[in-house]
């Protein structure tokens, strides 16, 4: 598969866009016309090759631009990458997993050659050719987790499993939906999900934790999460909230189509072999409202979901200020016809 990488930005002039193929492969997160939290985990197995589920670690037309944006974020704020000292084994697990998956899914872009502990990694889109010794951090230009996550789309958190809980002890987080790794590092599963409303009361996190503690090697799982973002900004961190928060007040009926984005997180969770930790991959996909409505089923459904969302959820996701304008705009694309079950376009 040959990918034509977009030359685009996720800040300043926001030239991000999706090609028609990228729109079709967007992982639309609603399988029905309403939304509530659920432990919506399913086996992370490949589906249709032309979907975001075609490979287990997806690489798409935004790869090069996203890696450039990540480098900019890290230059301004190196604290977006952190790993506690006991996570080194898990860092190597993650490097292996991402290199293996990328090389297997996209052999024309990535090549991994292993001779015992002597590894050779080629990343063609980013012009990287690196020989190193697996397990010896001194043979890489930076720590293994930072090294590989500067070359992989999505945010990455590694959790340590102990005392019947999961602990967020390492991560690369630059495309987050308003949470801070620097603040949350070292927290357990309940603590870092603390600010999420409603879900605790209905036991979602208790069930999810129980499930994840028994997550098995060789059997990754995935789930979808979503929010919305004004302008195609990947870095909606709390650190920069005072910079991007004002964007939320700029939505007008005229600019909804271009300015308002549905932001979908395709999260995959992997048991790591050497460390017994779990890797959380939080891959962010953005789609503009004007792109979304080119798929009639999604236009109808998203209109209904957004219109009927409980106010606490809208508040938590930060949608309150521009929800009415967006719902009114989407209403034009909803003729009330029934929608077919499932995520995919008709």
């Amino acid at each position: 598969m040959n990918i034509a990488f977009n030359d685009e930005t996720f800040r300043d002039d926001f030239t991000f866009r999706n090609s028609p193929q990228a729109i079709r492969r967007f992982p639309f997160p609603f399988h029905e016309d309403s939304y509530m939290y659920a432990v919506n985990m399913e086996p992370h197995v490949p589906l249709a090759r032309d979907s975001a589920y075609g490979t287990l670690i997806d690489v798409d037309e935004h790869y090069v631009a996203e890696m450039r944006d990540r480098a900019l974020v890290l230059k301004e704020d190196p604290l977006r990458y952190q790993a506690l000292p006991h996570m080194m084994t898990a860092q190597w697990d993650t490097l292996e997993l991402l290199m293996e998956q990328q090389a297997a899914g996209y052999p024309e872009l990535f090549t991994l050659t292993r001779d015992g502990d002597r590894w050779h990694w080629i990343n063609r889109p980013l012009n990287i050719d690196q020989r190193f010794t697996f397990g010896d951090a001194a043979t890489l230009p930076c720590e293994p987790l930072e090294y590989i996550t500067r070359q992989a789309q999505g945010d990455f958190c590694i959790v340590d499993q102990r005392d019947g809980n999961l602990w967020m002890d390492a991560g690369m987080v630059t495309t987050q939906a308003d949470w801070s790794l620097d603040f949350d590092i070292g927290m357990n599963f309940m603590e870092w999900h603390g600010p999420v409303p409603l879900a605790h009361q209905i036991g979602v996190f208790d069930r999810a934790l129980k499930f994840l503690l028994n997550l098995q090697q060789g059997r990754p799982v995935r789930r979808l999460n979503w929010t919305m973002t004004i302008n195609a900004r990947l870095d909606t961190s709390p650190e920069n909230y005072h910079k991007w928060g004002p964007d939320r007040a700029t939505v007008t009926p005229e600019n909804v189509g271009n300015k308002v984005h549905l932001r979908c997180e395709l999260q995959s969770l992997w048991r790591l072999p050497r460390s017994n930790g779990i890797l959380f991959v939080i891959r962010c996909f953005l789609i503009k409202m004007e792109e979304l409505v080119t798929v009639p089923k999604w236009a109808r459904r998203f209109h209904r979901v957004l219109r009927d969302l409980p106010p606490e959820l809208a508040d938590y996701k930060g949608l309150t200020r521009y929800r009415p304008t967006t719902v009114a705009w989407l209403a034009k694309y909803d003729d009330g016809a029934p929608t077919s079950p499932g995520f995919f376009p008709d």
Partner: protein, 321 residues
């Protein structure tokens, strides 16, 4: 979720390593590498013994970094439920078996400043893999290993040779030498973690002395595979699949369910992991809980049962399966 991730393996070697202990080496039938794993992990071995499918968990003892083969050690048990006898007397080099992916319910605490491992008898096996990992990562550890007699104790010579007598201490019942738990635990630096694997009595004893010496729960780790205890025959009605099955005296509910062709989730098959927790719809007797997973209030509620080890005192249980 029913993606089958079992691996088909061939018995590559069988070695008698001590009185009543056999080491088995497995290699993949398709020649592919086995997954690397973390010290303390086990696999569930599925054995086709005539018409019976047996599934038992065994700790992996080979180097976690070695993907060419897995090794386990099996103790010949007098009152074997079948698995141990099968592996000791029927299994031959070249036979094939299925094993699960590695599962770790007894992991190293990666934060530990120092790791103290206490093994009794065959409980040495998870520590073999753990020590390999700890040594490779240059971490501080010591092993205290209790054996009945020198000839019963597997591996103590090679462990002392490999890690030195300063790190590997052997205590032999027959020589009236016992692990001086109090002495060992009395003077360890902060951030030390203790791991125990062996007979139930030993685990209870060691954890008890650690608690007496003020060690916090967070620094104590143990693993014990509970064999499902035998009991009276009873019936199980599986309400979702509409089947009624008989659970024989030397069979667990889980085994009876599997024999009836009903799929039920499991991981440890030893009452520890919680994966096979099943809702009880009704029961005409008391539940006999043998697991170490459910909280006391869950056990008292009569609404949940771990079907890998627990039984009932009555004649019929109705399960949400």
């Amino acid at each position: 979720m029913s993606i089958n991730t079992e691996m088909s393996v061939r018995v590559a070697a069988i070695t008698q390593v001590a009185d009543q202990v056999r080491r088995l080496r497995f290699e993949r039938v398709d020649g592919q590498p086995l997954p690397v794993f973390s010290g303390g992990a086990h696999v569930v071995v599925s054995m086709r013994d005539g018409a019976i499918l047996r599934r038992n968990p065994y700790s992996l003892m080979s180097s976690p970094a070695d993907s060419s083969g897995y090794e386990i050690s099996v103790l010949a048990v007098e009152k074997s439920r079948g698995g141990s006898t099968f592996l000791h007397h029927k299994l031959k080099v070249g036979d094939t078996l299925a094993i699960s992916q590695p599962i770790n319910l007894f992991p190293i605490d990666q934060r530990g400043r120092k790791h103290i491992l206490m093994a009794g008898g065959i409980g040495i096996t998870p520590f073999m893999a753990m020590m390999d990992q700890l040594a490779r990562e240059d971490r501080s550890f010591e092993l205290h290993y209790a054996v009945r007699t020198r000839s019963h104790g597997a591996y103590w010579r090679e462990l002392q040779a490999r890690y030195g007598a300063r790190r590997v201490h052997v205590y032999c019942d027959a020589e009236q030498l016992f692990i001086p738990t109090g002495e060992i635990l009395g003077h360890q630096p902060l951030g030390t973690h203790l791991y125990v694997c062996g007979p139930a009595g030993m685990i209870k004893g060691v954890l008890g002395s650690a608690a007496q010496l003020g060690w916090p729960r967070q620094n104590l780790h143990s693993e014990e595979f509970l064999a499902p205890p035998p009991g009276k025959v009873f019936k199980a009605v599986l309400t979702r699949s509409g089947k009624t099955i008989t659970v024989h005296s030397h069979q667990s509910i889980l085994e009876a369910v599997e024999a009836a062709g009903v799929e039920a989730p499991y991981l440890c098959r030893g009452g520890a992991c919680g994966q096979c927790e099943t809702a009880v719809v009704g029961c005409d007797g008391a539940l006999e809980h043998h697991d170490i997973y459910l909280e006391p209030e869950d056990k008292a509620s009569g609404k949940k049962i771990m079907i890998c080890v627990s039984r009932i005192s009555g004649s019929e249980i109705r399960l949400d399966l």
